[in-house]
Amino acid sequence: MNKSWKILAIGILACVLVIALTPYLWILLTSFKGRLDILSPDPRWFFTPTFSNYPEVFLGKDYLPLVLNSLIISISSTVLSIGIGVPAAYVFARTDFAGKEDLFFFFLTTRMAPPISIAVPLFMFFTALGLTDTIYAVVIAHTSFNLSLVVWMMRGFFAEIPREIDEAAMMDGRSKLGAFVRVVVPMAAPGMAATAVLCFILSWNEFLYAFILVAFEGRPLTVGIPGLITPHGTLWGQVAAVAVVATLPILVFTFLVQKHLVRGLTFGAVKG
């Protein structure tokens, strides 16, 4: 009896997996299809692959710099938000001061703010500074929303390191900051790596801020995607190639941080 329930459960989960993965598989296949195979009214699962979509869009349509922009934006905003957020998280984990929890909540609201509400005034602000249409505008915007993720996640990781460790390091003659930099940070390194990867993913996947702040120069890959869709004659092979390049690195990264993913996605509330 129990065994047949188990087979039923596995059957259901297998179907779910097929539904979850087939759409992605389809875009992967499409990126290797020629025009006729794509436009065929009955879906073609087997076809002679072509490798021309990738060079056509990345070299011919000059989408390669967009990949570079995406990389620069994601890496710099990750480095910045870790560099600024980790010390702040340490303070939240180790000291008490008036209004601490309010300040902490304030960091959360910045992460949760709807991009459309912040991006509009940010657009006017950067216009005044002459920074719209530059990569800096996007880096700053992404840093400010990733910062709160860092503060929230790292507070939890620091809280798990016993205070006695800091104290022991200070007994050994280190200053307070020395204990933090040389002893506590290395102990929190795995959590920090996971946080950094999550920041990278969120920045890489982000669309609305970048879409509003940069129109041409410095636009990342996500912003380049809508431009490929036209009312008539969209070249779906090329669109698919861009979509694959925009998503495959993230999937690889996901597998690297899976252990900490639950924690990151719930702002540290669930220690999965």
Partner: protein
């Protein structure tokens, strides 16, 4: 435990002199680039600024925009209720499906790692890419999913999903469900894995069946995590923009014009920035309310923190 806490409360490892330089950069950055713009938006919402009309050069008009929005803007209210319906429908379905899947995995699968990793794929894709993928799949002439929908009779021969108004929102909800159900599954599964064994063993000894155990033990124990999942998904769904922007752009007409899309249109298509700021402000307000419920209900002092 309490005494230890009181002891360490007396002597801070970092005094104020050391904490300030560590805390300041983060606070400043958020103040300048998030609170600053927010304040500016609140101000702009009280002006008549418009790039489309040279007469409206940003004169201060007090709360006129808000009055207009609340009393005289049926498009805003349609969009508002559409968004609420979208949030309620997609989060409800995601929760029901996600919980069921998590339970199946927890109950029947021993080696979960590979399965959960593969399940994660939809939610880790950039939302723009998700929109793109489904736009291709649902193309009228050659979309793979359209083809099979027709084959089983769910879609008529000549029509396409996104040009049939009554199909648009259900389809968008279905796509959101496809993308975010794994999120619910993942977090509920983490909750199930951390459940204590003892209450279930005791209940089995007392002769309580699986259903009673589910209602009387499992659900109450999971309550904080359930609240967390619902709030996080609710907040996220309320802000939905990317997918819908790529899939339909809010159309046909305004059939799928969620609040974020409406705010985008007022600001960047009509260039009516004063009124646009008012709309954006209202979106922010709703999210802020949901957000403080999240904080009060599930964060630090709750049992969730100890899971």
């Amino acid at each position: 435990m309490n005494t230890v806490k009181q002891l360490s409360r007396g002597r801070f490892l970092l005094d104020r002199g050391a904490s300030l330089p560590l805390l300041l950069p983060a606070t400043l950055l958020v103040l300048v680039f998030l609170v600053g713009p927010f304040g500016y938006m609140a101000y702009t919402a009280m002006t008549d600024l418009s790039y489309a009309n040279p007469d409206q050069n940003g004169a201060f008009i007090g709360l006129d925009n808000f009055r207009q929005l609340v009393r005289n803007d049926p498009v805003f209210w349609d969009s508002f209720w559409l968004t609420i319906r979208f949030v309620v429908a997609s989060v409800t379905v995601e929760f029901a499906l996600g919980f069921a899947l998590a339970w199946l995995i927890w109950r029947f699968i021993e080696r979960q790692r590979l399965l959960t990793t593969l399940l994660l794929v939809p939610m880790m894709l950039a939302p723009v890419a998700v929109g793109l993928i489904w736009r291709l799949l649902l193309q009228g002439d050659f979309g793979m999913v359209s083809y099979y929908l027709r084959a089983v009779g769910l879609l008529s021969q000549q029509s396409a999903v996104f040009s049939t108004p009554y199909l648009v929102m259900p389809t968008i909800i279905a796509i959101d469900v496809w993308q975010w159900t794994p999120f619910v599954t993942l977090i509920i599964l983490a909750g199930l894995m951390s459940l204590p064994k003892a209450p279930f063993e005791a209940a089995t000894m007392d002769g309580a069946g699986p259903w009673r155990q589910f209602i009387d033990i499992m659900l109450p124990l999971l309550r904080p995590i359930i609240a967390l999942v619902l709030l996080l998904r609710g907040i996220d769904a309320f802000k939905e923009f990317d997918k819908v922007f790529i899939l339909t752009g809010g159309g046909p007409g305004t059939v799928s014009e969620l609040l974020s899309i409406y705010a985008y249109r007022v600001n960047f298509k009509n260039w009516n920035l004063g009124y646009g700021a008012t709309v954006a402000f209202m979106v922010y307000l709703v999210v802020l309310i949901l957000c403080s419920i999240f904080y009060k209900a599930v964060y630090w002092k709750s049992p969730v923190g100890k899971v």
